[in-house]
């Protein structure tokens, strides 16, 4: 029963993939060696697709892999399997959140964690930056956009749309 198998495999990925972005890749590679759903070569295409379309990459990868394996219902099954563990775990944490966050212990933990999260965000931005800012034009545009974001404070979606249009207009 392919749906049961898809659910189970993506449930495992959802349970064991810690962190963001491309952490699901090694798990998907493992799937490509064990099932006829998609090949390693298709996985490479899949990563490119997941990175060049909106939405969280992990979710995009699950949807695409599930679709490859068993069409639209496969896509829904794989995505459901992937998010199921986190929804259960996070809902449990969230249920006690208000009590947890009042405690002195939690406040002490977060006192240390907040600067580390800032470092994580900066590091993720820098890694994306190495991929995105490949020439002087890119760097200059990035600085101009940052200035516009910082001083005009418009909604991020407007800048994203402007970036897409400018990319096409300038042939970036």
């Amino acid at each position: 029963m392919i749906y049961g198998l898809l659910f189970f495999e993506f449930f495992k990925i959802g349970l064991f993939a810690l962190g963001g972005g491309l952490v699901t890749v090694p798990f998907l590679f493992d799937l490509s060696t064990r099932y006829p759903w998609f090949s390693a070569q298709e996985l490479v295409n899949m990563i490119a697709v997941a990175e060049s379309s909106p939405g969280p990459i992990g979710v995009n990868m699950a949807t695409y892999a599930g679709f490859k394996a068993a069409g639209v219902s496969g896509a829904l099954t794989a995505t459901f399997g992937l998010v199921f563990p986190s929804v259960v775990i996070i809902a449990l944490i969230a249920a006690f959140w208000d009590k947890i966050r009042q405690t002195k212990v939690f406040q002490n933990l977060m006192y240390g964690v907040r600067p580390a999260v800032l470092a994580l965000i900066l590091n993720a931005g820098a890694e994306l930056g190495l991929l995105a800012l490949t020439n002087i034009t890119g760097i200059v545009l990035c600085i101009i956009f940052w200035g516009a974001i910082h001083f005009f404070k418009l909604h991020p979606i407007l800048y994203i749309i402007a970036g897409g249009i400018l990319g096409i207009a300038l042939g970036l």
Partner: protein, 176 residues
């Protein structure tokens, strides 16, 4: 009911305009959830990320579930999660059969080159904006520098960095 629809629509919009993974979503979360809807604060978003980082699953989904639960318990958690994954499901299924055409289309490539540049600028602005809330004294400055060094130079996994920082905070916070 209105709140649930609002939750779904908000996370649908965030899913639709998130390019490049969980961290690229922060500017959208701030604009939608902190500034417009006032459902949460910058500090709480950072807390959700640290929890999302050390619990299984996709960070973007974890943050959606968390905020959904906060507003409308289990129903809210499910609705927000469905909201954030729906654009991906629709778009990927629509693209799946024409993927080679889509990937080879020069306009798509150019648009994404432009979008990636904007995403970097948005993340840079988040880092600068959160700086004062996250790094308030010498201890927190040291944690920041040390965490960055672990990530960049030693290639330590983010979950390990978060746990180490929590231990440091626990020890130092107890002496405050």
């Amino acid at each position: 009911m209105l709140v649930l629809w609002n939750l779904f629509a908000t996370f649908f919009k965030i899913g639709m305009f998130t390019f490049g993974g969980g961290y690229a979503m922060i500017p959208l979360l701030q604009a939608e959830l902190v500034e417009r809807k006032k459902w949460t604060t910058d500090e709480e978003i950072m807390d959700y990320y640290s929890i999302g980082q050390c619990t299984p699953g996709i960070i973007a989904v974890n943050v959606a579930t968390f905020i959904g639960y906060k507003l409308k318990k289990i129903t809210g958690a499910v609705v927000a999660t469905v909201g954030i994954v729906t654009p991906s499901i629709i778009i990927i299924i629509a693209l799946a059969n024409i993927i080679t055409l889509y990937m080879a289309n020069p306009y798509v490539a150019h648009a994404f080159a432009g979008i990636r540049i904007v995403v970097i600028a948005l993340i840079a602005d988040v880092v600068l904006g959160m700086r004062k809330k996250a790094v308030g004294n010498v201890f927190q400055g040291a944690v920041f520098v040390f965490a960055l060094a672990l990530l960049v130079a030693a290639g330590v996994s983010p979950a390990v960095v978060v746990v180490a920082a929590a231990v440091a905070g626990f020890v130092a916070g107890g002496r405050r």
